[in-house]
């Protein structure tokens, strides 16, 4: 019976692929394609939730081009398939209005085609259990994402973001190819099945290192994150939602899957990942604070959240290395819970950012403002996402970070001080900075008064775009309040990631969550009562109300509000990538001066880009091999042929 779940997932993959193809046709075919995609998401969602709810893993063995291939749906795959098909299906609906098919700019049809292929290939990434095919579907996903990112390829910055992404993802694939080969040697074949009872070997460390390099590029862990902000900001918003909410997580999935195949995790590697994740989190949120482009801000916040997830994985690996089931449960459980939470709230935030972009046409938050009065529904539905990303109760992300705090304190008690201390400080700092960054995000975009004409006439999108946001917003709260129900599922997933570990979350965290949920419900009730009591008094006449943030000035202008940059000034000036440009003030009656700041990524723009430019300069030498004469190219062929002949001739002598 449980085979049915796998069949549901596989048929959903087919449905998405067909949906992409149909959308190329346009008209009724595109509408049918959308329907197919939504149906596919429902099917995969049902299959994956059944697998999470306790169905045994379903396996399908087939032969493809003479190679044995395995497809498997277990709790770990299902844990990633659920957010994929949630955001994927909602994004498809959202995209119907956000990026209409017959838009003159960009290619609406190719956008839909690659949207179908990315969902299909990503689903395959989660169910394929064979090295070679894994690489194939991984590449398919990466290339689809490239085409999605460069949808608006008529703009130079979009093209650049697309190329940077393409190069980064291929560097990652290079490492993954080596990893798959090593893993194939270790497992004795390309099909992936956990090695049980084998003794640890030195090659395990290399496999994990290569996996970290390859999957880290996708997940955007600190030194490998530089492709991410540009790509996420340039893609259409519902695509950004998919990239950020799910595609980054394929990196985490890969790390978890590969480590689950190995019999043991070498000591020290968990602590390293913990520290790196901690640094990534602080770095990401620090940069998010400084951004003017609100989609880049969200992208940096994704880096932060992936850092938090990486901390969880590092903690879990430490637990596996020291055979500590409590750390394993809290680390992996927290990481997975955060994967779900981040998918939900970041999907919501990107949908919301897309609505703002759709209404105003600009990604610069300094020219917007006061949108809450003009787009009240968007402002209302995005608010839970803002609270969730700041890890405030009663929303979902608070709980996953709670798991991590519990795990880190447990690690501290067990005497792995350095990484746990670093991570605890970083996690606390990240939470605080995230609250500041998203207070800024919400306040500058939605509160105050419009800073330019761009946002004057903004209006709410229609229900097609609002409904997905509403669904995710409700889910943010539901995941926060219903977390007790999720514990058994998390236990099942942890059992896959760390074979042989005892399930401890239900027994260990149940009391915590019950208390927290009770308190949260109480607070919500009290808050609701307080609100009702305030609303009881008659509202003042809106005609008499002063403009927002008037502050009693006689003739305030909109330029007298806080700007996004001034709000973040206290924190962001210390970042290495921030540059301020202002001339010195001279004389008693200075002329008008302009002040300008720009933010560059400390890693990508300041470190990698100049070196890449220098390397490209050097590689120009190879252009000399390309004179453009046909004869010379043929000569190369001839010389190669002669070289092969000579080798044949001399082989016997050289090799003896």
């Amino acid at each position: 019976m449980h085979m049915l779940d796998l069949i549901l997932v596989l048929s959903s993959i087919g449905a998405w692929a067909v949906s992409g193809l149909m959308s190329l046709g346009g008209g009724w075919k595109a509408r049918l394609g959308t329907g197919l995609g939504v149906l596919g998401s429902l099917a995969a969602g049902v299959g994956a939730i059944r697998a999470l709810a306790g169905a045994p893993p379903a396996t399908l063995n087939v032969h493809l081009w003479g190679l044995p291939v395995r497809f498997e749906l277990d709790a770990l795959s299902a844990a990633f398939l659920v957010p994929l098909h949630l955001i994927g299906g909602l994004g498809l609906l959202y995209g119907r209005e956000y990026w209409p098919e017959d838009l003159p700019k960009g290619a609406g049809r190719t956008l839909r085609f690659f949207y179908g292929t990315i969902i299909a290939s990503m689903s395959l990434v989660f169910v394929v259990r064979q090295g070679i095919l894994f690489l194939v579907v991984w590449e398919l996903m990466a290339v689809s994402a490239f085409f999605l990112v460069s949808t608006e390829h008529e703009r130079a910055d979009v093209r650049r973001a697309g190329w940077v992404y393409l190069v980064s993802t291929h560097l990652g694939t290079l490492a993954l190819t080596a990893m798959v080969i090593l893993l194939g040697h270790r497992l004795g074949g390309f099909p992936w099945a956990p090695l049980r009872g084998a003794s640890p070997a030195a090659v395990d460390g290399w496999i994990l290192l290569l996996a970290f390099l390859g999957f880290g590029f996708k997940a955007g862990v600190f030194p490998l994150h530089f492709w991410l902000p540009g790509a996420h900001a340039s893609a259409p918003s519902h695509v950004s939602a998919i990239l950020s909410a799910v595609m980054l997580k394929t990196g985490i999935y890969g790390l978890l899957r590969v480590s689950s195949l190995l019999p043991a995790i070498p000591r020290g590697i968990g602590g390293t990942l913990l520290a790196l994740g901690a640094f990534t989190a602080v770095f990401g949120i620090g940069n998010a604070l400084a951004q003017r482009d609100y989609k880049r801000l969200l992208a940096y916040s994704s880096i932060e959240n992936l850092g938090v997830i990486a901390m969880g994985v590092g903690l879990g690996w430490t637990g596996r290395a020291t055979h500590d089931p409590w750390l394993v449960a809290l680390g992996f459980g927290g990481a997975l819970f955060h994967v779900w939470n981040h998918a939900v709230f970041k999907g919501l935030l990107f949908f919301g950012a897309g609505s703002v972009l759709h209404a105003t046409g600009t990604r610069d938050m300094e020219v917007l403002g006061g949108l809450a009065a003009r787009m009240p529904r968007t402002a209302w539905w995005i608010f839970p996402g803002v609270l969730a990303v700041a890890a405030l109760p009663p929303f979902n992300a608070f709980l996953s970070e709670w798991f991590l705090y519990r795990g880190l304190f447990a690690a501290l008690q067990r005497g792995y001080p350095w990484s746990a201390v670093v991570a605890l400080v970083a996690l606390a700092l990240t939470g605080g900075l995230a609250a500041v960054a998203f207070a800024r995000f919400y306040a500058v975009l939605f509160l105050g008064q419009p800073r330019s004409a761009a946002g004057q006439h903004a209006h709410d999108p229609s229900g097609v775009m609002l409904a997905p946001m509403a669904a995710l917003a409700i889910l943010c709260l539901a995941l926060g309040l219903g977390s007790l129900l999720l514990l058994p599922m998390l236990d099942r997933v942890v059992a896959v990631i760390a074979p042989g570990a005892k399930p401890m979350l239900v027994s260990g965290m149940g009391r915590d969550l019950a208390w927290i949920t009770g308190l949260e419900v109480l607070l919500l009730l009290l808050g609701g009562l307080a609100l009702a009591w305030i609303r009881r008094s008659p509202r003042p006449d809106p005609a008499l109300a002063p403009p927002t943030w008037d502050c009693g000035y006689a003739a305030g202008t909109t330029r007298m509000q806080y700007t996004g940059s001034s709000f973040a000034d206290g924190w962001s000036v210390h970042l290495p990538g921030v540059r301020s440009h202002m001339r010195r003030i001279k004389g008693l009656f200075p002329k008008p001066l302009r002040f300008r700041t720009e933010v560059q990524d400390a890693m990508g723009d300041l470190l990698v880009a100049p070196r890449m430019a220098a390397l490209a300069e050097r590689l120009l030498w190879f252009r000399r091999l390309q004179p453009g004469f046909l004869s010379v190219y043929l000569l190369y062929v001839l010389l190669t042929l002669l070289g092969v002949f000579l080798w044949m001739l001399l082989r016997a002598q050289v090799l003896g």
Binding site: F629, S631, V632, L634, L638, L649
Partner: protein, 211 residues
């Protein structure tokens, strides 16, 4: 006629091809070589297989009539008769061709091929023809002579294919023939475009297309 004799004649046409500067003569020699090669399978006594017979006849027809017809027409339209000023002079080309042939004779014995072929000249001649084709392609300037080089190159491949002729399915052979025909056809069009664009068929001008 023994196949070895035909193969030896093929090798001689290689030398003549490399040494000639007149385009008409080069085309003529390429035709002779093509027809000689078309006859080789018949001389080998493979005429009893119907498919080999058909392919050999098709090869003779395409190489002996269709391709030279196309090329002569192009030469007439373009009004060129001679290959002047090649990258590698005719004398040096001749010496290189000799060296290549010698090398082929040497190498042919060290190739990991099926032992015991009854025709000892077949593999060296194939390699030598291949080499000659390349030499012409590399050393000549006029697009038309380069097409001749391409023909010779294909002849070498065809000769090599004869080694396996009894196992080679008819599809592969007709594929090679079709490939050759399409190649010449396309190059004919390209030559015309080069002429229209640059007012000459000197392939040096193609370097201007480089970005």
């Amino acid at each position: 006629m023994s196949p070895d004799f035909l193969i030896a004649l093929t090798m001689l046409t290689n030398f003549a091809l490399v040494a000639t500067s007149r385009i008409n003569k080069a085309i003529q020699l390429a035709v002779v070589q093509g027809v000689l090669l078309g006859l080789v399978p018949l001389a080998m006594g493979l005429g009893r297989h119907v498919h080999i017979l058909v392919v050999a006849l098709a090869a003779v027809a395409v190489k002996g009539w269709l391709i030279p017809y196309l090329m002569r027409r192009a030469a007439r339209q373009l009004q060129i008769r001679r290959e002047v000023d090649p990258y590698i002079g005719f004398t040096v080309s001749l010496m290189l061709c000799a060296a290549g042939t010698g090398l082929s004779l040497l190498v042919a014995h060290s190739l990991p091929l099926k032992p015991g072929t009854p025709y000892p000249l077949l593999v060296p001649a194939a390699l030598a023809t291949l080499f000659t084709g390349f030499l012409i392609l590399v050393s000549r300037r006029k697009a038309l002579t380069q097409v001749v080089g391409y023909l010779v190159l294909e002849n070498g491949i065809y000769l090599f294919g004869l080694l396996l002729v009894e196992e080679m399915p008819v599809l592969v052979e007709t594929g090679i023939l079709l490939d050759l025909f399409v190649g010449v056809f396309v190059m004919g069009i390209v030559i015309n475009h080069i002429r229209v664009a640059f007012d000459s068929v000197d392939t040096r001008h193609l370097a201007e297309l480089k970005d």
